[in-house]
Amino acid sequence: MFAEEKLIPVPFDVYRFDPAQGGEPRYQHYELKLAPHTPVLSGLLKIRDEVDPTLALRYSCRSAICGSCAMLVNSKSRLACRTPVGPEVAKHGRVVIDPMRNQPVLRDLVVDQRGFWSNYRRIEPRLLLDPSRPMPEGRPTQMTPAQVDRFRETPRCIACASCYSACPAVEADPEFPGPMALAKLYRFVVDPRDGAHDERLRKVQLSGLWLCLRCHLCTEACPKDVRPSERIRDLKELAVRSQGATERGSRHAVGFLENIAEAGQLNEMKLVRQTDGLVGTVGQLGQGLRLARKKPELLKKPRTIDGVEEVRKLYEALQKDEEVPL
């Protein structure tokens, strides 16, 4: 059946830019005829091999394993090797190709990934052994299925950088290490063989963990369903449990927890005090008063919900419990 599949016209608009040549980035138009199931990558290689040998792109395995061909296909993060052209043309009338975001363009679709990789190295992506707990000699280390289950998703990561490209925190703040690095870190934090659990959590809190926006754009962009945003959530809870409310981010989370136990709902101004402390709150005074002129509720204590004692009972029942993987 596939052999008889009819060829369709596939208009490609491909981002072209060569900083060495100067000038502005532009889109170059190519008209191809392809079977609808043809991967975008095959279309681009056809352009490079038969039409325009100057087109630069990264690729290798063509099987969604190596993670080289991540790019934007009609503005969405995709692996070009497993994105068929047919549905793109049906939906958008053409195939617009851009390089990934958040990484400077070296040429055309090839981006500079040094930032991505140095953030990855920063988390020390290898088992760090505790000298007081050496690996058993002469036999494999055993893990229970439940222990392995805790990191069943992260080993699927192929380091394609789609998440890094999609991340608004990476875009806005160089301190944020990016979703992939944090998802990988999580994998080592929950690995029972690793001996640097607390130290890793202490360090990552100081290197941008709390800048994750939990916008889940990384989870949406990931072609392997690693779900980085959910792993970052896990890391935050583990950090709070291991280190307490030491950083602004963890103070805010723990402040929130205490805040709700009090009235069942949020006391916005009090939360600012819990996070910022007295000095920080004074710094916020100008903005606070500016807001309170339009929104006088900010200066009043909010209502306590009916049945707040039920909320407190939930806290008593669960707060001391061990972390449950979500």
């Binding site: 503005s75 969405k76 608004p168 925190a169 875009e171 806005a172 703040d173 709390w210 800048l211 994750c212 926006l213 939990r214 916008c215 889940h216 754009l217 949406e220 779900r227 945003s229 959910e230 959530r233 935050k236 809870e237 709070v240 602004r248 981010g249 805010h252 989370a253 723990v254 929130f256 927890l257 709700i260 069942g264 709902q265 949020l266 916005e268 939360l271 600012v272 910022d276 903005q287 500016r290 807001l291 339009k294 929104k295 509720e297 900010l298 909010p302 209502r303 919900i305 049945g307 039920e310 909320v311 009972k313 939930l314 806290y315 029942a317 669960l318 419990d321 972390e323 449950v324 979500l326």
Partner: protein, 295 residues
């Protein structure tokens, strides 16, 4: 239509205009809101970071209260929508459910998992529908170019929230069109407002908000509209600081979604709490001509 109304914390306090305008719109469209003064905060994503299971349990309590009354739950905040739906999903896992059931039982509460969580935007998009909404419009918002800003937790993670198209949603734009206004398409409409780190690293949060507002403005928007009061805080209440970060005067009126609907249904700016915004909505109202612009 009858729902257990879950206004969320902000709409009951500093974002009261959202509650006001929701009530106006629901009255006009015949959506009955049943109130539950015992609903608690959804945890807003922050409690989840401190204690995930406790966060699920807190929301299971809310969901159980609605279930006991035989009602589905109506949210007016993308974050509440996300957290309550997340709790429903996690309660599908037997080990989570067992723990939460154990904590609810002494409260005389039980939750079977039946409560559906729906955002007002979805009710208008799917149950009222753009066509019926269009037929009820008294004052079409003609000439007004409105940039929808969805709020992350209405959309993502798409599989958890069962949102149809997280990457290219159109339900909000369809409603804006039904109100007579012109939707503005721009990249930022599905991105983050920066709110979750507003209290962690304010300038980064402001910068993110500033970029989205700048993007909307660069695409010709006269105003933005959002179904999330936390996005509203970031985009409206802190717009002065966002301006500083992007180095540009933005002056972008930001409507809560039901305020925009209310305007089209004939409400006055005061009935919708528009004077409570930090960025004046005057420039947008003047475009509409027929609205009495408050002093």
């Amino acid at each position: 239509m009858r729902f257990a109304y879950y206004p969320g914390c902000v709409a009951q306090e500093s974002g009261k205009e959202l509650d006001l305008s929701t009530r106006y719109v629901c009255r006009a469209l015949g959506i009955e809101l049943v109130e539950f003064p015992n609903f608690s905060c959804c945890g807003s994503g922050f409690l989840d970071e401190a204690n995930g299971l406790l966060n699920v349990a807190l929301n299971a309590r809310n969901l159980a209260i609605a279930e006991r009354a035989g009602l589905d739950l109506l949210t007016i905040c993308s974050t509440c929508q996300g957290m309550l739906t997340f709790a429903n999903r996690r309660l599908e896992r037997p080990e989570v459910k067992a723990k939460v059931d154990g904590a609810l039982q002494p409260l005389g509460l039980a939750y079977s998992g039946r409560t559906k969580v729906t955002h007002l935007l979805r009710v208008l998009a799917n149950e009222v529908g753009p066509d019926r909404l269009r037929s009820m419009v008294k004052r079409p918002l003609r000439g007004l170019k409105v940039a929808a800003f969805y709020g992350c937790h209405l959309l993502r993670p798409a599989d958890e929230l069962q949102s149809e198209s997280a990457e290219e949603p159109h339900e909000f734009e369809d409603l804006i069109e039904a109100l007579g206004a012109t939707p503005v398409l721009y990249r930022g409409r599905v991105l983050c407002c920066g709110f979750p780190i507003l209290f962690v690293k304010e300038r980064t949060a402001n910068r993110i908000a500033g970029r989205q507002i700048h993007d909307a403005k660069a695409h010709g928007a006269d105003a933005m509209a959002t179904p999330c009061p936390l996005c509203h805080i970031s985009l409206d209440s802190f717009q002065n600081k966002a301006e500083r970060e992007v180095g540009e005067r933005l002056d972008m009126p930001v409507f809560h979604f039901p305020q925009l609907v209310g305007l089209a249904l004939g409400a006055s700016p005061e009935e919708l709490g528009l004077p409570r915004h930090l960025v004046s909505t005057r420039s947008a109202l003047e475009k509409l001509g027929s609205v009495a612009v408050p002093a």
